[in-house]
Symmetry: C2
Subunit: 389 residues, 2 copies
């Protein structure tokens, strides 16, 4: 006989995302951590363990060992602390580990962090080189494939098979900028037009500059609690109903199909099964739109639209804040910003704000259940979580 324990999010915090030249990595994270602790109404001494998602502080700023470093800086003295990494899915993985260890009965109150300092990087030639470490170095990066290049291949395949257009891609960026305008912590808070996206310089055909999420600094933190602790500390716990994770080949040429991410499909299947729900039961979602094409593919793989239907859905406004299934009401990676290791945790912050009804101008009308979707590399890691208030 084996009993599961329920797990809730009881506190959230994040810094503004953007170019934070005045703050170091550890300062950025500490600000997010303090905000999460205050939001949860618990003390640093209550926290029993710490998981932090970070993609590449080693390459960006020459600092590994962030678990212990950031725990210490956030006042979480001597507790178990570790970094987990799965490229840009690192934050989602950290959330999942914390969730599972609470389920295991090992801890009752855990802080999950996500952090990346991408600007002001003394240790790498350029950010694109470091991001390339998430792809297959031997078979992709060393021979010249960049990350925009990888997603450009996915976009080309999707356009070829389903007739997805460059205009539909642009509409994803336009929608997410519209949402970001209402998010005080977003990196970009101005609206853009389809014409501007189409006229922006080509990065990797068919992706233009405004199809790409930006280079960002930022930190996010959330506090997870077992059911007993959640009831003790919070009147508005947000429950984690399901968690799913899957992997795939790093190299695109080893995949069965370029128009869909198998890891997303498998992770979603597990999360839906655990939550005893389907795509129709989800009120809104924060998905991994590192490039505009990625959002379209994600909405198909998560079951919100049929394969090939994602482009049309954006065009029809189904993914707007007041649409059938709002996607990235926070502004997404595109407008909120994408400090890679922080993204998976920041998605949870956005979802919790919505489920508590505290999202102000970007509030989704019916916000009872939500889904987060975090991807590493060009789809080799995917993590999906389902939440309810």
């Amino acid at each position: 006989m084996f009993f599961m324990r329920n797990v809730a999010v009881i506190g959230v915090g994040m810094t503004k995302f953007g170019e934070l030249w005045d703050y170091s990595l550890r300062q950025i994270f500490t600000m997010a951590a303090i905000e999460a602790l205050e939001d949860a109404g618990c003390s640093n001494r209550d926290i029993e363990a710490f998981y932090v998602g970070n993609m590449s502080a080693g390459l960006f700023i020459g600092q590994e060992h962030l678990g212990a470093l950031l725990a210490d800086n956030a006042g979480l003295k001597n507790i178990p602390a570790m970094r987990v990494e799965g490229a840009c899915a690192s934050g989602g993985l950290a959330l999942r580990e914390a969730y599972l260890t609470i389920k295991a009965g090992e801890y009752d109150l855990v802080m999950v962090g996500g952090i990346e300092k991408m600007s002001d990087s003394p240790c790498t030639e350029d950010v694109t080189t470091t991001l390339g470490a998430a792809a297959d170095q031997e078979w992709e990066t060393f021979v010249g494939l960049t990350f925009p290049g990888a997603y450009a291949l996915i976009a080309k395949a999707h356009m070829e098979r389903y007739g997805t257009t460059k205009e539909q891609l642009a509409m994803v960026a336009v929608k997410n900028h519209k949402n970001g305008k209402n998010n005080p912590k977003a990196q970009f808070r101005r609206e853009i037009t389809i014409e501007q996206v189409l006229a922006s310089g080509i990065v990797a055909d068919p992706l233009s500059l405004l199809d790409c999420s930006p280079i960002s600094d930022g930190g996010a933190a959330v506090i997870l609690a077992s059911e007993d602790m959640a009831k003790k500390f919070s009147d508005t716990p947000v429950w984690i109903l399901g968690s799913g994770q899957a992997s795939d080949t790093l190299a695109l040429h080893d995949r069965e199909d370029l128009t869909s991410l198998k890891a997303t499909r498998l992770a979603a299947e597990k999360a839906y099964t655990a939550a005893n729900m389907g795509p129709k039961d989800v009120n809104f979602a924060e998905v991994h739109d590192c490039f505009t094409i990625a959002e379209i593919v994600a909405t198909e793989d998560l079951g919100f639209f049929h394969p090939g239907g994602g482009g049309k859905a954006v065009e029809e406004g189904l993914t707007e804040v007041d649409g059938k299934i709002p996607i990235n009401p926070s502004g997404g990676l595109k407008a909120k910003g994408h400090p890679v290791g922080a993204t998976g945790v920041a998605q949870v912050v956005s979802v919790v704000e919505q489920l508590r009804g505290e999202a102000h101008k970007r509030q989704v009308n019916r916000a009872e259940t939500a889904l987060t979707h975090n991807v590493g590399g060009s789809g080799a890691t995917a993590v999906v979580h389902i939440f309810s208030r």
Copy 2:
């Protein structure tokens, strides 16, 4: 009501440690993984999840995202896969995560990997620079402290307070080389003398070259199973009785005491409590001897000897293979080699060989219970596990 599940190690594998110029990181890990699968008698398709400990493949070879990459290379298709990192304690942390997720009921059969490719590193100026990423970059590394320097400070403090001698430090190296001679997978398989250690060049006073563990390539893998699965696949399961983890400040100057690692003491306390055992109940241990002084401090912090008694204990032969409490019968990090992310998993391989009675010439006489102790940085992360056959 909450029930725990028992967890066992049912398969182990590791490559020879050393300078493996002919193999890439992924090849090294795949060899270890196949050996572990064969040893467990299970198929790659049986494995439900993968955790890999790695300190710094980003800085060493420009490759992050090792969870998905190595799972794919080892034939573990599409399963949840992630890297965990806590500097040189990464392997021990990976073991602990796998252990906790099986306890949580999430998985029944999990592969734990550890890997590092430190020679043949195109991406860093030198290995010492990369290892410095485990220390506090802003307060230690950027101002010139190296890792041997950090442990030299610990050694100086220990000598000052307890009268520990350079000869006693040397005896640790001599013992571990004697043990390594009998380990076919050890990097160094020749005996050395106290005189040779004392005469080897000073790296950071009082530590000489032969007080330091080497730069190594190597991979290790173990298969963990829930009780039901362990009984299905194995006649000789090795049970994990307890697991403990703790953290401390990265920077030495923030510590209360330099002669002891608080994180080790806290991690050991948790592991002993979980196992319902004390230091006297442990038959032998694999401890983190990245430098000779580290082994002496570890044997005190783990409770095998009183504070300050570690030097004398080595001198009296208490830690020899046939001594009262054999320490590092595998040769330890000093002689077996120290591919940093692999070490915590390789310690488990060594312990399982002993507990099964398969350690041949290095077999400990009474091998019923054992302890592994894995440290990150100069003690900011510590992980302790207790095993029994």
